[in-house]
């Protein structure tokens, strides 16, 4: 199993969620984060003093999936979240050693 995490632009959340649901992904965890990367923040003036908004609001998704689905999930996110403009975000994939579903105690792929 893998944990696919994706940093995306906030307004793409709904589209991505729908695409993933269509793929059969059964769960997603969403975290609001602030991103710092090639896409630069903006400098604002507040009462005449500078005010750099360095960190841009992003959404981080965490999706645990069984191995066969990984590539499809990556592709689906890439296609749906892309605007082609800088700051579209990243996908990171980690090895997931173990999963438990708290409700039932099931473990492994069944628990996803």
């Amino acid at each position: 199993m893998k944990l696919v995490t994706a940093i995306i632009k906030p307004f793409k959340l709904d589209d991505v969620r729908e695409t993933l649901a269509a793929l059969g992904v059964s769960g997603i965890t969403v975290i609001e984060v602030k991103g710092f990367g090639r896409q630069k923040g903006h400098t604002e003036l507040y009462r005449g003093a500078e005010y750099v908004v360095d960190f841009l609001p992003k959404i981080k998704l965490e999706i645990a999936v069984d191995d066969p689905l990984v590539d499809q999930v990556i592709e689906a996110i890439t296609n749906t979240a892309r605007t082609g403009k800088i700051g579209d975000g990243k996908i990171f994939v980690f090895d997931l050693e173990h999963v438990t579903r708290i409700r039932t105690g099931e473990t492994g792929p069944d628990a996803l």
Binding site: P10, D14, E44, Y46, Y51
Partner: protein, 420 residues
């Protein structure tokens, strides 16, 4: 006796000034209501619009509007303008004493009371076009609205123009103020289009919840309080038993209508949606207030409650209907002030035997068409000159950063940039 006349003049002036101060306070009510009902990312901008429109309204009405609306002369349709108010001046004691009771309050207090009314009309507009209209385009419209569009129709009724002559009844402005504001808002909304994401391609209507309910409730309470000045002051005089009773009746009826409107809207929303939708209840209270504004004097308290309740009922359906028509009004201003404003005008003959449904319809139609057409043209011109809508990207990111350079709640995660 002269001292008595002077004292009465003082009391009436004081009553007028305090009424005006209460109406001024309504500007804060609109600001809070709107700030509560928009998303966090558009909050600073709506606040900026609200404070700035008030200032613009005061200045334009001083420069032009007041003289247009209450001209020294006019033919009933076109007022004779002299634009001299900005230089001030007031009634001398001699003139007051010689007037035989005709001149019973300060001219300055009259301006004060009137100027806060025009600000009210303009505040109605800001809510309807919220979250997508450019700040400076909006303020430019405010200049035209408060300096010209509003005063002209105001003259027709309250300045002694042809609507007054026709027997059109509008005690405190269900038409002259509320319908007027809503008509301008409607024209703007039609040209502007709905907020992105409000209506799906598949015909779905998406809710876009407001960010801060306590502000919305506070705003409604402020408006409710201010309305005692709005309607109570519109009696214009308080200094004898009959007038004092009238003002008291207006207070009671204003309050009862709000209570009726709130209750009706809350129950209607509960029946329709299964939940006690607070925003509908708030709109219901305001609807009750708008409904009674055309005639808060003649109804008995029970009737006032019912007139308000009908307003509260109407407003729920109006909001749903406008949404179906894809007329996107984030705060419900067109429904509250426009649709219910019409109800208020048409309800006058129910309790006021001097009013006729015909005159009411003429007044309603005149205000609606004058304001809508003039506003439409104005918005259109502004659209051509500088555009009225922010860019799509700015709308996604929120107009606060784009227009004002600062967020309303910068420290709260998720305040900005959240989806939808």
């Amino acid at each position: 006796m002269d001292k008595l006349t002077e004292l009465a003049y003082a009391l009436d002036t004081f009553y007028f000034l305090l009424s005006g101060a209460l109406v001024m306070w309504m500007a804060a009510g609109f600001a809070m209501l709107e700030a509560g009902l928009v998303r966090a990312k558009n909050t600073t901008e709506i606040l900026t619009k609200n404070v700035a429109l008030f200032a613009v309204a005061c200045i334009m009405y001083m420069l032009m509007g007041y003289n247009i609306m209450y001209p020294s002369d006019g033919n009933g349709i076109i007022p004779a303008i002299d634009l001299s108010f900005m230089f001030g001046g007031d009634h001398s004691a001699e003139k007051v004493l010689a007037s035989n009771g005709e001149t019973y309050y300060s001219g300055m207090s009259d301006f004060f009371f009137q100027v806060v009314f025009v600000a009210t009309a303009m505040s109605i507009v800001s809510g309807a076009v919220a979250e997508r209209m450019k700040l400076w385009a909006f303020l430019l419209f405010a200049v035209v609205m408060t300096g010209f569009i509003y005063p002209v129709q105001g003259y027709w009724k309250w300045g002694g123009g042809f609507l007054e002559g026709l027997g059109f009844n509008d005690f405190a402005g269900s038409g002259v103020v509320h319908l007027c504001g809503a008509s301008a808002a409607l024209a703007g909304v039609l040209l502007l289009g709905p907020r992105k994401g409000k209506y799906g391609k598949d015909g779905s209507i998406n809710a876009i919840p407001g960010a801060n309910m306590p502000l919305a409730a506070l705003g409604t309470f402020i408006l409710w309080l201010g309305w005692f000045g709005f309607n109570g002051g519109s009696e214009l005089k308080i200094s004898d038993v009959g007038e004092a009773n009238a003002v008291a009746a207006v207070f009671v009826n204003t309050n009862m209508a709000a209570a009726g409107g709130l209750t009706a809207a809350l129950i209607t929303a509960r029946l329709l949606f299964g939940k006690a939708d607070l925003t509908m209840a708030l709109n219901g209270a305001l609807a009750g207030l708008v409904a009674i504004t055309a005639e808060p004097l003649t109804p008995i308290p029970l009737a006032a409650t019912l007139i308000g309740a009908v307003g509260g009922l109407i407003v729920v359906f109006a909001i749903i209907t406008l949404d179906k028509l894809r007329i996107d009004d984030p705060v419900g201003a067109i429904s509250v002030h426009g649709v219910v404003g019409m109800w208020g005008l048409l309800a006058v003959p129910i309790t006021n035997s001097e009013a006729s449904i015909g005159a009411q319809l003429i007044g309603l139609g005149t205000i609606l068409s004058w304001v809508f057409v003039l506003s439409f043209i104005t918005w259109l011109l502004i659209k051509v000159i500088m555009g009225i809508r922010v860019s799509e990207e700015e709308e996604w990111e929120g107009v606060d950063i784009g227009e004002c350079g600062l967020e309303a709640y910068p420290e709260f995660v998720g305040a900005k940039g959240s989806a939808t």
